[in-house]
Symmetry: C2
Subunit: 380 residues, 2 copies
Amino acid sequence: MFELLKPDPQPKARLGRLTPAHGVMDPPVFMPVGTQGSVKALDPRELLEMGTQIILGNTYHLNIRPGMEIIRAAGGLHKFINWNLPILTDSGGFQVFSLAKIRKIKPHGVEFRSHLDGSLLFLGPKEAMGIQRELGSDIAMVFDECPPHTATPKEIHGAVERTIRWAAECREQPRATGQLVFGIAQGGVNVALRERCAKELVEMAFDGYAIGGVSVGEPEPEMMRAVELAEPFLPTDKPRYAMGLGTPAQLVEMVARGVDMFDCVLPTRVARNGTAFTRNGTVSIKGGMFKSDFRPIEEDCDCFACKHFTRAYLRHLLNVGEILGLRMVSVHNSHIYIKLMTEIRSHIAAGTFADFRREFIANYRPSKKIMLARAAVKER
Amino acid sequence: MFELLKPDPQPKARLGRLTPAHGVMDPPVFMPVGTQGSVKALDPRELLEMGTQIILGNTYHLNIRPGMEIIRAAGGLHKFINWNLPILTDSGGFQVFSLAKIRKIKPHGVEFRSHLDGSLLFLGPKEAMGIQRELGSDIAMVFDECPPHTATPKEIHGAVERTIRWAAECREQPRATGQLVFGIAQGGVNVALRERCAKELVEMAFDGYAIGGVSVGEPEPEMMRAVELAEPFLPTDKPRYAMGLGTPAQLVEMVARGVDMFDCVLPTRVARNGTAFTRNGTVSIKGGMFKSDFRPIEEDCDCFACKHFTRAYLRHLLNVGEILGLRMVSVHNSHIYIKLMTEIRSHIAAGTFADFRREFIANYRPSKKIMLARAAVKER
């Protein structure tokens, strides 16, 4: 199911191959986020054209709308949304703890009110796995508790204990045919808790391991530290997934720390405000400097947007509110993330990843605004 | 330039061929509306796939944003928006009289304030033709005065006099290479004024003739009557264009009255509210009846949306506000309009248009809501 093709101990970048039920994935891989059954503003053809190998769906959101009755009748999520390649579904844990209104943590899950209509709902290991089984995702995530980065040590401790207990309960649930299940390691930046949580999960022998509790508003050094604390305890022969990350530069740094899989709403979210990713950082296409700039967003980019449209035209579209503008920046940004992974894989294969990493980070100018957008987790 | 391939006196449906600078058009033809340089929510590939032969642009809107300096620097409208087939540009007259804030009608045009920032602008025959020359459209429209359907006989008389005088002035303006210019016949439902305006314009020998003053909020019988009053005075060897129309059924009726060209914002505008066109009328895809309906919008439709997605999925997307939902209904609706014209052409060629018309109208249920949407001319 997962084959480690080329580990590179210094840095820890890895080349692998994962073969879930609906296809093949080549980690390091970026997974565009289709929270509600659609990667925002994109259609499946555009996703395939940019080389997408897997997309995300979300248990919490899909369970509320359209609801499982409809997805069951459609024959599962792949058929409902017409996506024939792999899908990873998040368990809903993250949304229950970040989006839902009132909640009561119980031994076997969480009672909460829908962020939409206030209706009382319950989600726990059994429910989350049941929904993911019906969604028929290739990779299901365990139901975990993801505390905010402002949580007290005691709160983080409680979250880790529940995450471990709930992971064991998830492990026992029936799965869809061929469905893989990943554990999620929590523990904040507490050395002992990260170790304990990772080890306990590994003990349960999941098909892969996610590092959770990152991208919850913490500063970048804490994010890196959380990954560094958990990674040594994860088996090398299973894929590792850092949840909800990040900027292109952060992804390069995470690969260097031994992470294989990523998902992030950034490329499509900032696109809807007219912000484009480039190799050198982000740029607001709405800017006046582009009004007569007839170059594509990036001159060497072969995405649909860059092959067809200029900065000047996209700036015009964004400024007059034409949907094609945000569509095309969404295409470009998602393409950039996918292609960055392709480039990373080539460098790992050629043994030149360390040089690539140094050069990429040196040329990438992080933007404070983008880091804040990342921290705005509501839509995730 | 225009070749009348098959006139059919009873009804007056015509088959023609028009060869403007950037390609070939086969009237009767529907022209998707790209007011601000983009057919709303669609990209050029989607337009080409559905068989679009020509799109519209708008002088008033494009002159305000992005402004002519930018379009000139891009090398004209085709290059700016990356559309290599024909473009027809409206002169801006309609928008000046319907959108602009304060205005003063002068002998050689209209002084008005931008609907966006209130800046004082002037548009008349010379300016409108100058802008269209720089846009480089295949077909330019004369600068006319389009009175609302509530106008008094005196107002309509004044509008006709100005429209004739301004048409003569437009006729004398220099054009882009190969650019065709169409006159616009006004006159409301006044028999004498429609005749006078049409005859005066024909005297000036334009490349084609539009029937204006329709789709301005009038009831359908008045719209039909306006066309019937103008048409007999238009030469059979030039294309006729009914501006801003209409529903599929209205287009069939207009073809039966000898009209060759159409444009309308309806297919994309109502799509953004989740309303789809079918052969039998409109349907709200958001409706609860579609929640587990896994058929395409129309079962025999070969548009990109119907080939890939179900009503249930599109309903979900529209209800959760995913852009892909309105995108796909926009694709379907525009496709339906284009394909209706293909079907009409086949029937005219086969001599079966009269039967087709009877059957189509009998099966089409007009919707009051859609008629009202048509009357909401602001976005046109």
